[in-house]
Structure formats: structure tokens, C-alpha cells
Symmetry: C2
Subunit: 118 residues, 2 copies
DNA sequence: TTTATTGATATACTTTAGTATACTGATTGT
DNA sequence: ACAATCAGTATACTAAAGTATATCAATAAA
């Protein structure tokens, strides 16, 4: 995607980084979950309700993976009652430029693909 | 991923754009294929050889999808012999910032995740 | 006291993604 | 004439991702 040609090894190394990123953010629900939490939903049921068709199993599974990847935290508070809260980490903000870029590219791409054949 | 809260509708609309992008670039082989072509491999067998474990079926399938998405072109030239050439489109270059960002984020993320627990 | 809500887990299933292997017809090379 | 290469396709399979549904123990609300 840039002008100079790369060696095969450089190329494979780059691919591994890209695959690592894809692994963290792809799948049907990871980004919807991140966006839901970002939008102010912090409890399991809240997040679940905010994402129309997600199942409890997937939500549970994906929250764990996001926690392992340090994009969210799960905290149990016991002030008068047990309450579990999910929050985005400061680190998760490093994804912002990528998400923004994906949003823009996707919008533009759809417009491009669906435009009347010239 | 930014400070102002969005309405649910705005949020869902953004998600659709992001999912559109993910659909185009995710899967095990799409980016390896793009990078291989970018690296100077233009013929079916060349691309196939340059990507260690890809099967002919997947290469064929993914090339078609990339063509539908206008990221590559497939041209049949008949100057003295039939020869099929795959090339990246000018449009495919719009993916460059995204790919670059994914590469950087992935590299940094791996370092972050594997670093000794402080 | 029963009912609902919270934060999940377990089991079984379906769907999608990817693999393995054999094959084709046209061309080029020996 | 025979083998090799090119650009794939067809069929059958396995693995991964996701869904459906039931269940649980601990609060909280009526």
C-alpha cells in the first residue's frame, strides 16, 4: 500500500501485526460492545439491552476477551449492594483513530459501491 | 470513542459503516492477498506461491470479492498468449491509512499485552 | 411470599469460514 | 507425443463463530 517494495519477511511481519489487530476488534459484537459502553452503558444488562440482537452468551464471552485485551475493566463494588460495572480503559482510546478511519472508509465505500455505474 | 455521547441511532449508523469496512477487509486472506499484489505478484500462481498456506479455492474466492469491492482488477490480455493479470486499483490506496494504523496498533498492542505485569 | 432483575453459565445446535483433494481444458516446453 | 504450467472449478469435509434455550444463585421490588 505504499511505493517501496518490501521483502517477504517484512511483509509477513507486517501481516502479523495487522492480524493481531483484526483478532482484537473483529467478530460481530466487539465493536458494538465497545461503542455501547462508550455511550454510557456500564452494566451487563444495560449493555445487553442496548445491542438489539446480542445473546447473553456472546456478551459474556466478548466482555471477557475485551478485558483480557485491556480494553475494558470489570469492577465489583460492594457499597451496600453488589454491583458489577464495565468501563472502557484509558488504553482503549488508542483505538479511536482506527475506529474513526473505519467509520469513514466504510461510509465512503458503500457510497462508492452503490453509485450508479458511470 | 470520543467525548460527546451519541444517540442510539447515530451509534447504530456508525456501527454499520464500521461493519461494512470489516466485511471488506476481514477474513484470513484478504489483506495478505492485497499485500502480495502490492508487492509485485500479479498472476494467480504467483500470488498463490507468495502466500504460504492459502488454497486455490480461497484465493479464487477472495480475488472475486476483492474485485467486486473494486480493490483489484482482473485483466485478460491476448497479446500473443492469454495472460491474466491482477492489479490493485487506484481506489485500493484509500485503504492505506487504515492498514498502516492497524499495523501500528497491532505492534503496539502485542508489546503492551506481553509486557511483564507491573 | 412470590415475582422480577442482575450477572451470568451450560448444553446443544446451526451457520459461516476455511481446508483437502481431485479434476479440467488450454497452452507451452522437451 | 508427453509432461508441466496456467487459471482456475467441484465436491466433500472440518473448524470456528454465533444462536437458542434453559438454568442458576443472589438480591430487590410488589
Amino acid at each position: 500500500m505504499n511505493d517501496k517494495k518490501l521483502s517477504d519477511e517484512e511483509c509477513l511481519r507486517d501481516m502479523r501485526h495487522i492480524q493481531d489487530t483484526l483478532y482484537v476488534i473483529s467478530g460481530k459484537w466487539k465493536l458494538p460492545i465497545i461503542m455501547s459502553i462508550n455511550n454510557g452503558n456500564n452494566r451487563f444488562r444495560e449493555i445487553s439491552r442496548s445491542i438489539p440482537k446480542i445473546t447473553l452468551r456472546m456478551l459474556s464471552k466478548e466482555l471477557k476477551e475485551l478485558e483480557i485485551n485491556k480494553l475494558i475493566t470489570r469492577t465489583v463494588s460492594e457499597d451496600s449492594s453488589i454491583l458489577i460495572t464495565y468501563k472502557l480503559t484509558a488504553y482503549s482510546q488508542t483505538l479511536a483513530p482506527l475506529i474513526e478511519e473505519m467509520k469513514n472508509w466504510g461510509r465512503n465505500h458503500k457510497a462508492m459501491i452503490t453509485e450508479k455505474k458511470t
